[in-house]
């Protein structure tokens, strides 16, 4: 009996051994949060990579929204079943980088795998967000974007606005004209409330969000975005919200279609909205740089990025890391980056891909796609505009939005709301600092 079982097991082993090709294919799990057209792009990238060589197989898996994907990754790590690559949105950066041991820094990965890797080939405005203060790249930027102002050119014309507004006072004026011309429920609006009105607003005006270069230089950072400039801006919004010259549209981007539907003719949101705008807006639209207050010295500075990057999880086999490194090299290829950028509207991550797109004359036909790049490279980044890195940023954004909501609903003054956002945020940062050691 025992012998027969042994025999059967042996037979199975032999069959399996025969069935496997001469060399085993190493599987690389890639968890991501891309939906719609971007999901197709992810699958296509994996297919192309798998077809390009026979040693590794990248298996992409959709894991839900950005927070869902990140939490799935964290839970999987705790259970010892983490994927090799996980896509984490920009605000998860501090949480990921503080998890020494749970992640494998990209610069380390490339060095260990012996893959050619020049950090200088990448656009600093993008990689800076995901690098240490020494410039070591921790995660691989995948889809990057920035805030731009989307403009419904047809409606602006109808309302008699000759030029696209450049400054906040001009935007307010244009919004009043739009409202008078029939846009009674929305003069202008925006998605991603905290990202637009606190994070990007600060960088664009060269004002700090927090100390220590917005947290890039250390977790002992303290929030400072309750300055007179921030208070003044929020006061303006509160005033305009009263008659819907400005109309708050929520914390995330569910309300982006208020632009495509024609309701809001001026709408600030991610440049990654391009693909959706292109397919849903039935009017002539374009994107313009974010507005600024002309009386602020040095404004506009440069914008910061949003989007997501690919993190490599720790504790995997060297063979698997080699595959991940090869995949990153594959993603960085100039042709591929240029192609990805032109199709998805997300930013190219290498300088060569950007230059190629310029040389191809792509932006002459599609100036919309160049707006975020112009913003990011507008000036040499300062301490206030390199990026930001706050622990617990995922929840922090909601907390900031809560206070903005309280102010816009008239429950708090602008100063009270921003003071509360700063105080509550700082309490959260101190908790994070204690765990991040």
């Amino acid at each position: 009996m025992a012998f027969r079982q042994f025999g059967a097991a042996a037979a199975v082993t032999v069959v399996l051994a025969l069935a496997t090709p001469a060399h085993a294919v190493t599987e690389i799990q890639w968890w991501h949060a891309m939906t719609g057209g971007n999901n197709d792009i992810v699958n296509k990238l994996a297919e192309e990579f798998n077809a390009s060589q026979s040693d590794y197989k990248v298996v992409p898996t959709f894991k839900g929204s950005y927070p869902d994907t990140m939490n799935a990754g964290i839970a999987a790590f705790r259970a010892g079943t983490a994927p090799h690559i996980i896509q984490v949105f920009e605000v998860g950066t501090a949480t990921m980088m503080s998890a020494t041991g749970a992640i494998k820094p990209v610069y380390q990965l490339m060095k260990d795998a012996g893959e050619p890797f020049d950090p200088k080939a990448y656009l600093p405005a993008i990689t800076g967000y995901y690098s240490t203060s020494k410039g070591d790249m921790l995660s691989f930027p995948f889809n990057s974007s920035s805030t731009v102002m989307w403009i419904n050119k047809d409606e602006l014309k109808k309302a008699g606005i000759a030029e696209i507004p450049k400054t906040w006072p001009e935007v307010f004026d244009a919004a009043k004209k739009l409202k008078a011309a029939g846009h009674t429920t929305c003069g202008f609006s925006n998605a991603w409330a905290s990202w637009v009105h606190i994070e990007q607003f600060s960088a664009w005006h060269n004002a700090p969000i927090g100390t220590k270069a917005n947290g890039l230089d250390g977790f002992d950072t303290v929030l400072t975005f309750n300055s007179p400039l921030h208070v003044k801006h929020l006061e303006n919004l509160i005033e305009l919200q009263k008659d819907k010259t400005y109309d708050y549209a929520g914390r995330a981007n569910a309300s982006e279609n208020r632009f495509a539907s024609g309701e809001c003719a001026i709408f600030l949101t991610s440049s990654g909205y391009y693909a959706t705008a292109k397919s849903t807006a039935k009017f002539d639209f374009t994107s313009a740089p974010m507005p600024y207050y002309p009386d602020v010295k040095g404004a506009p500075q440069n914008s910061i990025i949003g989007g997501a990057s690919l993190w490599v999880m720790g504790g995997k086999k060297p063979e698997e890391y080699k595959g991940v490194a090869k995949f990153f090299t594959f993603l960085s290829a100039t042709e591929r980056q240029a192609d990805l950028h032109q199709k998805s509207g997300y930013l190219p991550i290498t300088k060569a891909a950007y230059e190629k797109t310029v040389k191809d004359g792509f932006y002459e036909k599609n100036p919309t796609l160049q707006t975020p790049l112009k913003e990011l490279t507008n000036k040499e980044p300062t301490e206030n505009s390199r990026g930001l890195r706050f622990g617990n940023m995922v929840q922090m954004r909601d907390l900031w939005a809560e206070e903005l909501e309280a102010a816009l609903a008239g429950k708090k003054t602008a100063k009270e709301a921003l003071d509360a956002a700063v105080a509550r945020g700082n309490a959260m940062l101190r908790t994070f600092e204690k765990t991040a050691k």
Binding site: P67, N71, I74, F77, R78, T95, S98, A99, T100, G101, A102, T185, C186, Q241, Y248, A249, G250, R251, A252, A254, S255, N257, R258, S261, E263, N392, V394, Q395, D398, A401, E402, E403, E405, A406, L408, A409, K411, R424, A427, M428, T431, K434, T435, A436, K437
Partner: protein, 293 residues
């Protein structure tokens, strides 16, 4: 000859109980004790470092004004949802209990919403009441009603209450209907012969005889609003605006899952657990007295 069956084996009853006990232990006591233990720790999201901090998670929790705000929100939210879902379901059940044509179809349709997942229910309500997309929000705007759950806390609360009530009515309906059908017709007929109108019959005969069902549903509904509604809140309002719909259980979810603060989140679930145990105990001690079995 002895008539009642007696098991001579002393071990057998315990053996028969073991599966139930194991399930209770593994799925209820063990996770609950884990939550209690976690609430004394400070841990990063990845579980790489873990430090015993005693009651620090609790003291910092009770120092947050937002936590008291969420308690108030919970009281408003749970009383509204429990009261509305129970009373509307009772109304529907009494109507369905009459001799109707197509009563079967009506009853089936009433039960359907229960099969909808909370998050999906939330999304359905968003589509109806989203300020700019909603099919029902547009008529509201035409009527010059400034419907804005994105900024108006009361509107947002109304929205999550409606979604949570809608979701729970089916369940309550089912139990009320079963309860109504078990009330002897002869009692009601006797009342009718004595000259009691339909309303009087309902309040003096049906309602008291239905009280065991009502009591059971009250307990179940309170547990439902306390624990099962965060999916709806997450999908509809995300706890906003300005925390107007952040209930205690939603805060547990937000702090633990979005904030990665497992210790603080565990401390909140322990507090929540204590509150619900206390509430259930009160219900059994005081409300149950009025129940007529």
């Amino acid at each position: 000859m002895e008539k009642s069956v007696v098991f001579s084996n002393k071990l057998l009853p315990y053996l028969l109980l073991i599966p139930q006990l194991i399930i209770t232990f593994v799925f209820f006591y063990w996770p609950a004790s884990q939550a209690v233990w976690q609430s004394f720790l400070r841990e990063d999201a990845f579980g790489l470092t873990s430090e015993f901090v005693g009651l620090e998670n609790y003291t910092s929790l009770f120092a947050q004004p937002e936590y008291y705000a969420s308690m108030l929100v919970t009281v408003v939210f749970s009383s509204l949802v429990a009261a509305l879902s129970l009373s509307i379901a009772l109304l529907f059940a009494t109507q369905a209990d009459k001799n109707l044509k197509a009563a079967g179809a009506y009853k089936t349709l009433m039960i359907w919403p229960y099969a909808v997942a909370p998050a999906v229910a939330g999304v359905l309500w968003i589509f109806m009441f989203h300020p700019s997309l909603g099919t029902l929000a547009r008529p509201l705007r035409w009527m010059n009603f400034d419907w804005n759950p994105l900024l108006n806390g009361n509107h947002a609360m109304a929205l999550v209450v409606m979604a949570a009530v809608w979701k729970q009515i089916s369940y309550n309906f089912l139990f009320f209907l079963a309860g109504l059908q078990s009330i002897p017709k002869s009692v009601l007929e006797a009342g009718a012969i004595d000259g009691a109108g339909p309303m009087r019959r309902f309040w003096t005969i049906t309602f008291p005889l239905l009280s065991p069902t009502t009591f059971f549903l009250l307990v179940v509904n309170v547990v439902y609003v306390f624990f099962d509604t965060f999916g709806i809140i997450d999908a509809v309002t995300g706890g906003g605006p300005a925390g107007a719909t952040t209930t205690m259980v939603y805060k547990v979810f937000a702090d633990g899952r979005l904030g990665g603060d497992l210790g603080g989140s565990a401390a909140q679930s322990v507090v929540l657990m204590v509150i619900v145990i206390a509430l259930t105990a009160i219900q059994f001690k005081y409300v149950e007295r009025k129940v007529q079995y």
